[in-house]
Symmetry: C2
Subunit: 525 residues, 2 copies
């Protein structure tokens, strides 16, 4: 009997109808019954008369399955796999923690219970570049700390992104499936110059399997590197018409992607990058978001990313807030307010990128980007990185992958280590129970200190006080009567942790008058 | 005939009653009639049976005066000055621009029409320190760019400020004039530790003239250095009871100060530092503010400074917004919003200080403080500086004066030079008419560029684009058809201005990928 790991997937292959348009004319579905009941999943057409079904067991134990659908070409057994069968889901191996899930409303854990601190990055169109560049991107990712990457199935048409993809998501075909009304609206908000849309002749009823097969490969490689694939369905950076397909093509595309990729445990779905500069209405986004939510048997992380206005993240199909800052000066610093408002995890997927391009969203320093990560995480949020340095060959990480030119990544790795080393699982914004500064109670003092919530049942007491752009030469701590704390001074930029021993009572902690310092306090029992 | 400069002051001296409490028992007033009518001013008691009247002529020309009041000790002529007389106000000398006035609702000019860009600093209790230290402070000011300084008549009891003043504003006297109810409220919000209030025995009906005479000296010296004296009447940093006097003592004190100092052209009045952490109610502040406004014949700049909540700056007696940031991350960046809301000049008197003390409000870098100045001024606001570096002798500029330890001052001088060199008088936040960046219209682009309003009747066209913490390696400008511009690249931190010649059409301007850069564009006719 076949045996796979829990949270890996089984793939079943069948021959079937190849005539007409198999993507739309036939269907294939399957039911899988395991230790916790039955799940129904869609299969998908993979070209050349081949249909596939993929399934990810979420439990250990025995599973049986049954495949049905109009795809069958008059044969009893479509083969090579049997239409009914069984397999065993074995315990997950050490590096397989399962998909990321929301826990305690606002936090993230892998399905096996391991906390997940999302240190994301962005390379929107990396899977559309040359195979050589894609391999380089994977090599870069293998040597960095990122555990999520945002990218799209679609090619990208935007600043530093004007090359053609190596393959297209749909086959050529006289603009079949493009929505003239949406296109007309899009042309009206056309941005001129290099942004001119020159819509070409695709048949949006016919996915290009060669294109999507490559995403199988890349999503699987990311999974093996322990990296979540935050897959973007739509964006407006388009000159091919994929941003303005007919609704039925949008739905075909979404169903196809969900059927094909949902069995990868590391998949996250992102309905759009910058939904609010596209031609779809909120009602249309709602319908598409609900479709993905309903079609995905595993309830993967699912959100929609804004440009100018946050989406209503309270919508039931949305698992987390996938946010772009909507203000130049203040954003991650409001993480705790968003957590309270939306009661869902806050993932800052765009907070400006480290780089030196002309655009304000892509030219902050490594120090500033790292500060933004600390501000987000210390309030219980998550954040995403991008690298946008000018390049003689026009290969910017954020667009195409390749190599990193910035300085922030090692600092983000350091932050991730600090997070993983915590005696408590989650951080949240706090008023600093040990830092009752003498003096006028002042708002900024409250904004500069943080606490952790002890895990349920735990008695740990732990705080990280982060000073950001502040440069105190010392801080005075007022430890609770009779309690002792291990004090460490962290330089978040220079990546050092200095042991200051055990303190109690009123204690002065000397600091180096530099930016980006933190104090870590751990109660000693 | 006596002759003084316009906007200087004439001082008249008279002998009168010395018995009882001359500060409350007698009065002295005067009327001055000049080219534009008659003004009534209060005189003040200066101790030892001496009363004085000061008057600042706001016009050139002949003035006559008449002094009356119950101060006269049965004599017809109180002497040594005659009770009636005349003098001439001559043209102001080159460095005398008159008092600062509000113009065009939101801007500031000296009375002679010279634009005033307020580069303030703060040394709250400098006139309460040793004479030697005061002289050092004046020497520092003489070599810096500051054209306003905030300080108080009162001694200060606060962090790094616990020494006794060299003189007190009132004489000793068994707590006469302290308000028990206010004191009780103040003790309730006592902050403990070093902040403990140990109210001592002053007679708040009897100003100490020795104390106030020293302010004559210092305000005059500041005037001669071209520095506005932003005089704070009240704050809560108090262990002597001056923060919680009876209402009649508050009024006595205000009237005394206005009578004594209003004739100095460089006076600004600040009702309070951090009004909202004091025991007075808004109704009480209103009454006191109106008193100062009504008693000051010259209508000097008058405001009230907040801690946690802005005051209602629309109140008629308030000439400008004297603001402290109420958010750690965003404040000066909202200058244009405040200008629109209050329709009064916006002066950011506290936006955190350059330094390295433990408090978040006093440990930002010189770079960050300078950035805040640029952000404020480029939106049409003004800003204030402070220097809070730890000192072995506990002499912090912001508290006691002395010397500066920070790096921002030369950069503020550079900014002031840039402002004074403008072909237009005022800056205001703009969307950057020449910077129609190709691409998605994005909020942050709009926040990073600025324009100037041409002065009335002027056809000048001028912009400064400031990139703050952004580090673009270039920017593309889209100059209007047929127009040519002189382009300069300004490094606001390294204080360099690089000439890039004349440009037109679509022009790329290379930049050094560093923070704190700006582009200056001046139309060439």
């Amino acid at each position: 009997m076949r045996r796979i790991e829990r949270w890996d997937y089984i793939e079943l292959t069948f021959r079937g109808h190849a005539e007409g348009n198999p993507f739309t004319d036939y269907e294939i579905t399957a039911s899988f019954t395991g230790p916790s009941g039955t799940l129904h999943v869609d299969g998908f057409y993979d070209g050349d008369g081949i249909y596939k079904v993929r399934f990810m067991p979420e439990n250990e134990g025995m599973y049986t399955y049954r495949v049905t659908g109009s795809f069958m070409n008059g044969e009893t057994a479509a083969g090579p796999d049997p239409l009914e069968g069984a397999f065993e889901a074995a315990p997950a191996s050490a590096d397989n923690h399962g998909p990321v899930r929301v826990t305690e409303k606002v936090h993230l854990r892998y399905a096996d219970g391991t906390p997940y601190y999302s240190i994301g990055t962005t390379a929107y169109a990396w899977v559309c570049q040359t195979m050589e560049l894609q391999e380089q991107t994977l090599d870069t990712l293998a040597h960095t700390c990122f555990n999520k990457i945002r990218f799209s199935f679609l090619p990208k048409h935007y600043l530093y992104n004007f090359n053609e993809p190596i393959t297209y998501p749909f086959v050529r075909g006289n603009r079949r499936g493009q929505d003239p009304e949406r296109l007309a609206r899009a042309m009206k908000i056309d941005y001129g110059g290099d942004y001119a849309r020159d819509i070409t002749d695709f048949d949006c009823y016919t996915p290009n399997v060669e294109h999507f097969r490559r995403f199988d490969l890349r999503i699987g490689q990311l999974r093996d590197l322990g990296i979540e694939a935050d897959l973007i369905f739509f964006y407006d950076y388009d000159r091919w018409g994929f941003a303005n397909m007919k609704d039925e093509c949008d739905r075909l595309y979404l169903k196809y992607c969900v059927a094909r990729y949902a069995a990868f445990r590391n998949v996250w779905w992102s309905m759009a990058n910058e939904y609010d500069i596209m031609t779809k209405t909120v009602e249309e986004w709602e319908g598409l978001g609900e479709l993905v939510s309903a079609r995905d048997p595993y309830r993967h992380m699912l959100s929609i990313h804004n440009c100018l206005r946050f989406y209503d993240y309270t919508r039931p199909w949305i698992t987390h807030c996938s946010m772009q800052r909507i203000d130049l000066y203040k954003h991650v610093e409001e993480t705790d307010l968003h957590l309270k408002k939306y009661e869902k995890p806050v993932v800052w997927d765009e907070i400006a990128y480290e780089g030196n391009i002309d655009m304000g969203w892509g030219n902050i320093s490594g120090q500033e980007l790292t500060r933004r990560f600390w501000e987000a995480f210390l309030r219980g949020g998550h954040a995403g990185h991008g690298d946008t340095f000018m390049d003689p060959d026009d290969v910017l990480w954020w667009a195409k992958g390749g190599v990193l030119k910035g300085e922030s990544e090692p600092r983000l790795a350091f932050l991730l280590r600090i997070l993983k080393d915590m005696p408590c699982e989650y951080l949240k914004a706090g008023e600093g129970i040990f830092d009752e500064t003498v003096g006028i109670p002042s708002t900024e003092e409250r904004h500069q200190v943080y606490g952790t919530t002890p895990a349920p049942g735990s008695s740990c007491s732990f705080e990280i006080h982060y000073f950001g752009f502040g440069r105190p030469s010392f801080r005075t701590m007022f430890f609770p009567e009779g309690e002792r704390f291990h004090v460490e001074v962290i330089d978040t930029w220079n990546m050092t942790i200095e042991d200051r021993g055990i303190m109690s009572g009123v204690s002065r902690i000397d600091l180096p008058s530099r930016e980006y310092m933190a104090i870590r306090l751990t109660k000693v029992n």
